[in-house]
Amino acid sequence: MDKREREIESAELSIWFFCGILMLVYGVVLVITGIVELHDPPPNEVLLPWLEALHPTLWWGAVLTVFGGFYSIRFRPGRV
């Protein structure tokens, strides 16, 4: 990606920022949900005990938070 393309994306379109901020918010929501579910697992995880031990909501929330956080900062409005 050259300098001009970065300028267009960051100053005008911010498509990556939109992606980042949505994933960041979703990640935070999932992390909070995952923490709550540590002591109160959802029905599908009760049915599949191996799944309960993996805490997928928490881990996937963490991945989305990192991904979303990186893109939100990297392509934040006004950054060239």
Binding site: L22, V29, E37
Partner: protein, 575 residues
């Protein structure tokens, strides 16, 4: 499409959303509407509104290009096909897409791009005259608006089946949201949402194959479990069972996959369907326009992970509450017995692995896919209507501002017609099958016309027009023949063992051959187009400008080679 009719007959919803799921869905809708208002300020001229100002980077145009095709109907349908036919369904993502996408980027995009056409019908006008443009524009406008309605109804029906939502509520909320953001921001708004949707689909669906493979114990154990459950290893091979129609679950032959799917259908769709080509035309320079389909192809190759793998996993691990293996059934049986159909496999797997939060993310990804499907159709319709019908035949000399206003109005009116279509389909589900078939009538012959137009300077206006007409009519004729006499499939697919899936492949192949033959014969007996009129339109008489790449890393052809090598490796691995 028949699965939607089956869903309609089911009264039991699969699951319900927790408050956190609703929060995730509401956040998505809020962002989508915000994007519409954000993009409105940048959609002042017709170039802005219809082609996003031609300032998209290769990555954005590429992701939008692949995302425009990645609707929820497609995701759910092909996950169901993977359950029904095994890994053979991956052909529609690999040989049925990758070579054509690369061909578009490397060979065809320079012509689309340097001719400065606004649409595929616009290119046909430049190359073959008003007749070919009119046929192509009218058929495309009608089809896109019908498809938008089908998407709308499909979303409403899935929401009803999975979550118990009211059908009219889903139709009107979905349509109003899409109409708002496309009307405000035009193609730019649609593209931003498509890129967002692509990320969302991966975020929402990736957990299914990941957790599924953990449960199955890895790919090797998954294949072993499938073989044990099905009593055959045929479902795990891409090519080794295609030597005969009767040796594979799909009832097809490798010639149908390679020539029918891999050549005609795939090239027809990916290189001439304006819905996807429009995304690439928004690229900010020639190199970006060439790179966008290459980038799209790289991502397209990964999609089977979230579509095909869940279907295969269901064959191995999906069980009833009593622990017995769950057997999904065809739509016709599901409608009478109340069992789950093949096409419900993705929601079933989503519910199996995803609790509150993750479920909301998965459902939001499906909703985003449906809305993106509607937006893609409506934005392409608005462009073709304004440029190739209204601007070409009704009001040729209006101001740019007037055409932008027409684009906005045609978006709203198009959406209202789509809503009407959705209600029409609700009362006669079989209409959807015909809408799908109608698309296939035009795409294969259109590819014959466009490719001859680009590569053969001797092709004439009459040759292009009559070839397109003959190919389309022959496709319709073969469709009617098989509909009225199932035995006709024997002749079209050239085998008594062919199954319905083979008909689509061979009908496309024959209609393309007829289009090409008629175009060649008519062109040879009609007056050639003067060479000076073909500059910028045809290979051999058009100086292709350098795309500006300096290093090998910047060259689209280098990355196209990388993608095609990976494509061959994948086919060998899953042979």
């Amino acid at each position: 499409m028949q699965f939607l009719a089956a869903l309609l007959l089911m009264n039991v919803q699969l699951t319900k959303l927790a408050p956190v799921d609703v929060l995730i869905l509401v956040l998505y809708f809020a962002l989508v509407v915000f994007i519409g208002f954000y993009a409105k300020g940048k959609a002042n001229t017709s170039e802005d509104f219809f082609l996003a100002g031609r300032e998209m980077t290769a990555w954005i145009a590429g992701l939008s290009f692949v995302s425009a095709n990645l609707g929820s109907l497609e995701l759910m349908g092909w996950a169901g096909a993977a359950y029904q036919y095994g890994i053979l369904a991956a052909h529609w993502y690999w040989i049925g897409a990758i070579p054509a996408m690369l061909f578009l980027g490397i060979v065809m995009m320079p012509f689309y791009y340097i001719s400065k056409t606004h649409s595929v019908p616009g290119y046909l006008k430049l190359r073959f005259g008003e007749g070919a443009r009119a046929v192509s524009a009218v058929s495309f406008a009608v089809m896109t608006i019908l498809m938008s309605g089908v998407n709308m109804y499909a979303m409403a029906l899935v929401m009803k089946t999975v979550l118990g939502w009211n059908i009219s509520f889903s139709i009107w909320v979905g349509a109003a949201t899409v109409a708002l953001y496309v009307m405000l921001g035009g193609l730019r708004s649609a593209i931003i949402n498509e890129v967002l949707q692509f990320v969302l689909i991966w975020a929402g669906a990736a957990m299914i194959p990941v957790l599924g493979l953990i449960e199955a114990g890895g790919w090797t154990k998954l294949k072993a479990q499938m073989a044990a459950n099905l009593g055959t290893t045929d479902y795990g091979h891409l090519w080794s069972t295609l030597g005969s129609f009767k040796d594979n679950p799909m009832g097809v032959h490798w010639t149908g996959i390679v020539f029918g799917l891999g050549f005609v259908i795939s090239f027809g769709y990916w290189t001439t369907d304006f819905l996807v080509v429009q995304r690439v035309l928004s690229a900010n320079n020639l190199r970006a326009a060439k790179m966008a389909p290459v980038i799209g192809a790289a991502f397209k190759m990964a999609v089977p992970f979230i579509v095909i793998v869940p279907g295969l996993l269901a064959l191995a691990v999906l069980r009833n509450p009593d622990g017995s293996l769950m057997h999904l059934v065809p739509e016709s049986i599901a409608a009478t017995t109340g069992q789950h159909s093949y096409n419900e496999v993705l929601p079933l797997m989503l519910i199996r692995y995803c609790g509150p939060g993750l479920l909301g993310l998965g459902i939001t990804a499906l909703v985003a896919g449906f809305m993106s499907g509607m937006a893609g159709n409506v934005s392409a319709f608005s462009t073709v209507w304004t440029y190739d019908l209204y601007g070409a035949f009704i009001n040729k000399k209006a101001s740019d501002k007037h055409y932008v206003a027409m684009g906005r109005w045609s978006t709203v009116i198009g959406m209202l017609v789509s809503i009407g279509t959705a209600y029409l389909v609700m009362n006669a589900a079989s209409i959807m099958d015909y809408v799908q078939a109608l698309f296939s009538f035009f795409i294969a012959p259109l590819f014959g016309t466009v490719i001859l137009g680009m590569l053969w300077k001797r092709a004439t206006h009459w040759g292009g027009f009559l070839g397109l007409l003959a190919g389309t009519m022959s496709s319709i004729g073969m469709f009617i023949w098989v509909q009225s006499d199932a035995g006709a499939l024997h002749y079209i697919a050239m085998s008594p063992n062919a199954k319905p899936m083979a008909e689509n492949l061979y009908r496309a192949l024959w209609s393309w051959i007829i289009c090409v033959l008629v175009t060649i014969v008519v062109s040879l007996v009609t007056e050639p187009v003067p060479t000076e009129n073909l500059s910028g339109l045809v290979y051999g008489v058009t100086p292709i400008p350098h795309d500006g790449s300096t290093t090998i890393w910047q060259k689209p052809i280098f990355w196209a080679i990388v993608v095609i090598v990976v494509f061959f490796v994948l086919n060998l691995i899953f042979w």
